[in-house]
Symmetry: C2
Subunit: 367 residues, 2 copies
């Protein structure tokens, strides 16, 4: 692995001092911000995440805030998911598409009020798309990036830890809902969500000055729970089938190809900029789709580029994320597979840096 050169352009976060003190070993860059990737090792971090509780600096999940009378209309223009039934206090996972139905991002939308929304973005400057649309359609809405930095608390003991810091009421927050909770006199959005399948919360810290106090409060309260600094885990998220924009899909892909058809209400999402294109896709169906795959042989290295999938010498797709799973004792992967081969049980070749292996489609993700 190469080194990363520090620069202001690769932004630090309100929690960076804590992350460094916890001994972070490696980073990635996400939305031009530092995102930790390893503390002990990816495998040790994995076992700990699945058995205890971790605090994750996911500040890089930047918010785009929309405020003003046209914000709900704008929000619906961005996504094929029907937002009419969404009440304040709810979070929705929403594909964002351009006029061709290509995925621009797959954020979590947070409805603060009828006229105030956040979208908690994956790795693309969605702010610029939303600003461009708001300007071009002359909408009455203010669009910017507020000083909000999510801190995730993930793992089976997350609820106990959170209750110690925010009180027992936090136990009542349901999946993909949020409540307002007090910390040092400030009222924060606390949602039951996060980029793992181990359960947990995301605290949307408004105001970076409270970053280290919040970080320290969680570690002080959780010492006996073995709370540790962690980060989205490259093994666990594949087990759970959590997609990564830029890895598993790009703007070349439709939501349907990404297996996100269940988040598209293309008929009723009236106003969505990509609706016409997606009506076509929804009718004909995609010709390739995201699938879970098992790859045989020894543990594989992480991937820094797509690995070709072939059958009978012909391309049938690509593996976009792969890792060795200790719990499932096999190489687990996410791939984009052509229709001819996407049914569970289908076998094909995958061209890895360690040579050609067999890959088999699974019927479901692991967790």
């Amino acid at each position: 692995m190469a080194l990363i050169t520090p620069s202001r352009r690769l932004r630090r976060t309100p929690f960076s001092d804590g992350v460094e003190a916890a001994g972070v070993k490696a980073y990635t860059v996400y939305n031009r911000m530092l995102l930790p990737t390893v503390f002990e090792s990816v495998q040790e971090d994995y076992h700990h995440l699945k058995s205890a509780v971790q605090v994750w600096d996911v500040s890089c999940e930047r918010q785009v805030e929309m405020r003003g009378p046209d914000s709900a209309r704008l929000m619906q223009m961005l996504t094929p998911r029907d937002l009419r039934g969404m009440l304040p206090g709810r979070c929705f996972y929403v594909p964002i598409v351009d006029e061709t139905g290509g995925m621009l991002n797959d954020p979590v939308a947070v409805k603060l009020a009828e006229d105030r929304w956040w979208v908690s973005i994956a790795d693309s400057d969605l702010l610029l798309w939303i600003k461009g649309i708001a300007n071009g359609y002359r909408l009455d809405v203010l669009v910017d990036e507020p000083d909000v930095s999510p801190l995730a608390v993930q793992g089976p003991k997350a609820e106990d830890l959170m209750a110690r810091v925010f009180g027992d009421a936090v136990r009542e927050v349901r999946f993909f809902r949020f409540g307002m909770f007090d910390f040092q006199g400030r009222s924060l959005v606390v949602a039951r969500s996060g980029y793992s399948k181990q359960g947990g919360y995301e605290i949307y810290l408004e105001g970076g000055d409270l970053g280290m106090p919040l970080w320290n409060a969680l570690f002080d309260a959780g010492a006996d729970l073995d709370v540790r600094a962690g980060c989205p885990n490259g093994i666990e998220r594949i087990e759970g089938g959590l997609l990564s924009y830029g890895n598993d899909m790009t703007d070349d892909n439709t939501p349907h190809e990404c297996g996100l058809g269940r988040f598209c209400d293309t008929q009723t999402a009236i106003g969505c900029i990509g609706r016409d294109a997606l009506l076509r896709v929804a009718k004909e169906g995609p010709v390739q789709q995201i699938r879970p795959l098992v790859i045989d042989g020894d543990p594989l290295p992480g991937s820094d580029r797509p690995w070709a999938l072939t059958a009978g010498g012909r391309s049938v797709g690509q593996v976009t994320s792969a890792n060795y799973s200790p719990d499932f004792e096999s190489n687990i992967a996410i791939g984009m597979v052509r229709m001819t081969h996407w049914d569970a049980g289908n076998s094909m070749e995958v061209h890895t840096p360690d040579g050609t292996r067999q890959a088999v489609v699974r019927d479901a993700f692991w967790a």
Copy 2:
């Protein structure tokens, strides 16, 4: 320095194999793509750049292509620089601003034809802003990211090296102009430009498959010129006053604050989305501006965040880039300085990780 975890999201380039073989030691991430930052050491790379010739993988300077009848109109909507006099074959450095006059990027615009443009972007997804504007204003234009990867050839011996590969006609290309030159049967845009003050060219490689052949051709032709793999140099670019978007300015800043007022023809750039806001700025002038600064004392470390500038206990700006210059035997810096202190000779305190130092405004950059 921490490690960087490989992932598809941090895109490789058509030249990555060559960069690795040349022994790259560190990277940054720029437009979600790997950009080398160190080969021998920043200081050794610096001396070599100023005395010989280097080949730089600047694929991360992605192109946004605009094609179709409305492309020139769209281009003028994006920038306050008057583009009426720009002929095909010319490159223009253009501030890109939003409706408030805030900088969204500072790319090089390349006019291929009346109805075909590239913008060679700095580190923000300008593609999304341009797509949003094109969609919102219902322009007849196609906007996308083509398979184009710039390769820069920089240094005093760049012209000699380029002439060996592309023929002597390449010597006739003037600054910020381009010609079409043949390489292995393909016609490539070759411009006299680049992110250094040492002179040189940028080859806009269309079609990644020719990446390694082009890389190898340059190294084969230049062995006796001591050609080496290099990259934008953090010392040399400060000496030259070349700004870095995300480091030296953000969307909070106007072009005038960035010292880019000379690229704003706000009166005549009719159609520019930020024109109204910038007319106001142009009239009143900015209250802070980019300045070259010398910082006293021992060589300073690189900066990963802005360093506060104060005078009499009050904030007067911030240093946004700094490095030790071997040739000028001092710490050289770029800062955003308030009007009260921006005149040459003014002295103030700068708060560095190595303690408080004196900083003095210079009358000009070093090169």
